[in-house]
């Protein structure tokens, strides 16, 4: 693929669609540069591809700068397919997933603060195992607590391109519900930190 500048436009489109189509997981933008190393041109090609499949039974989807084909909304409900059995999430796990999604990055003790109860063993574990959450950056606070964030797999699973697409996020922000200043219970990590300083 050294001579990729010589490949004509249509061939590039074909290579892109074939590569994305055959890949088992969403393909990173960077990996697609092998077909067109000029980023602007590559973006244009992908836009063209998006348009080409617009009215198909499956469409080109962009999830956080990764690309894949997914069946279109129009036909999905009419298809009778069982691809993979989904696990039934417990109430605690469902709430925890929601809190992580809307509040990310968030520490374990902040999750506990919102729910008013400590997270039992296994709750985060399940979400981590499914691959919907992963550890994010550590906070620059004493003890450098680790945070949790959602993954691209989570976005893909729920048909979102990025977390800003989560419904109700703006209302949540406006209502001030994403703040932690207003709390009855102290963040348990504050106590631990105190202790560590001893």
């Amino acid at each position: 693929m050294n001579d990729n500048t010589k490949l004509d436009h249509n061939l590039k489109l074909k290579l892109l669609e074939a590569f994305i189509f055959a890949s088992p997981e969403p393909v990173k933008f960077n990996l697609l540069k092998q077909f067109e190393d000029n980023e602007d041109n590559l973006i244009k090609l992908l836009e063209e591809l998006d348009l080409k499949f617009q009215n198909f039974g499956f469409n080109l989807i962009n999830i956080n700068n990764t690309y894949c084909f997914r069946t279109s909304e129009e036909v999905s409900s009419l298809l009778n397919i069982e691809q993979e059995a989904s696990k039934q999430l417990s109430r605690a796990a469902t709430e925890t997933l929601g809190i992580i999604a809307y509040h990310q990055p968030i520490t374990r003790s902040q999750i506990e603060e919102i729910r008013g109860v400590s997270l039992s063993k296994g709750t985060l574990d399940i979400l981590f195992e499914i691959g919907w959450v992963k550890p994010g950056k550590r906070l620059e606070l004493p003890g450098r607590p680790s945070t949790w964030v959602t993954t691209n797999k989570f976005l893909d699973h729920f048909g979102l391109s990025n977390v800003n697409q989560l419904p109700g996020l703006d209302e949540l922000k406006e209502a001030g519900l994403l703040n932690f200043d207003n709390k009855v219970f102290k963040d348990p990590s504050e106590l631990t930190n105190l202790n560590n300083n001893d």
């Binding site: 997914r70 691809q83 109860v117 400590s118 519900l177 009855v184 106590l191």
Partner: protein, 249 residues
């Protein structure tokens, strides 16, 4: 370690299907069929305490978190029932506490709704699909190893926990930790406005001699820590020789 151990023991006591005290409060609010933004704390407190009373009869080892919220509500209730003194700024404190509690209820309600809606979304593999077949089209195949971060951390955890088992570990001792003393003092402070002898804050239920001794020591350290942070002031009367503590505003 000790704290985690305690935490998980407490968690095993399920309170009739409620995921914690705020969850219980929320369901009481929902029972009242009132607008969640117009929660009245007083009737809510009464219902919560009534509920707690019933539970305590059946199970004395009720989860500590329920009792903490219970005592906050009892405090709010008793203050609201007393005639209001204009000069006291305690009323502000009560309002503040009620507001914070309302905020927590509201926040949990919002997140419960959003989480539920999240799972109602169309989901991959159920409502929409990826390509079903795995196709290999190239002659040059590079193997991609399927290890998730979860696999990695899990097997690491496994590797080191058997490492730990093969080593000597210091025996667990029944000591009252500074961490616990801090929590205890912080929780108690809401209810004591005046000067109080530090050691009146010691939990009454400790029987073990060693644990009592350690509780004295840890409460002393904890009080210094709180004073250092500016949460409390300490004084010592040379005649009585006992430390007294007051909450700073």
């Amino acid at each position: 370690m000790t704290q985690n151990f305690l935490k998980h023991n407490i968690l095993e006591l399920k309170l009739e299907g409620f995921e914690g005290p705020i969850d219980l409060l929320l369901s009481l609010v929902k029972d009242q069929k009132v607008d969640i933004l117009r929660i009245k704390i007083l009737p809510l407190a009464e219902q919560y305490l009534e509920f707690l009373k019933k539970i305590i009869k059946n199970d004395i080892e009720i989860a500590a978190e329920y009792l903490v919220v219970g005592s906050i509500l009892a405090f709010i209730k008793s203050r609201e029932l007393l005639p209001k003194d204009e000069n006291e700024n305690e009323n502000d404190e009560i309002d503040d506490l009620s507001e914070k509690l309302k905020f927590q209820i509201l926040k949990l309600a919002e997140f419960q709704k959003l989480s539920k809606n999240l799972l109602l979304r169309k989901q991959l593999g159920i409502d929409f699909f990826k390509r079903g077949e795995h196709e290999i089209f190239s002659k040059k195949i590079k193997y991609k190893y399927e290890v998730s971060l979860y696999d990695l951390t899990k097997s690491y955890a496994k590797a080191i926990s058997h490492e730990d088992n093969s080593k000597m570990t210091i025996a667990y001792s029944k000591l009252f930790t500074v961490e616990k003393a801090l929590t205890n003092l912080k929780n108690s402070l809401c209810f004591f406005k005046d000067w109080n002898y530090l050691f009146t804050f010691l939990p009454k239920e400790i029987k073990d001699t060693l644990e009592i001794k350690s509780a004295y020591a840890s409460h002393f350290v904890a009080s210094l820590e709180l004073a250092k942070e500016g949460h409390v002031s300490l004084k010592q009367n040379p005649k009585i020789n006992d430390l007294q503590m007051i909450k700073n505003d």
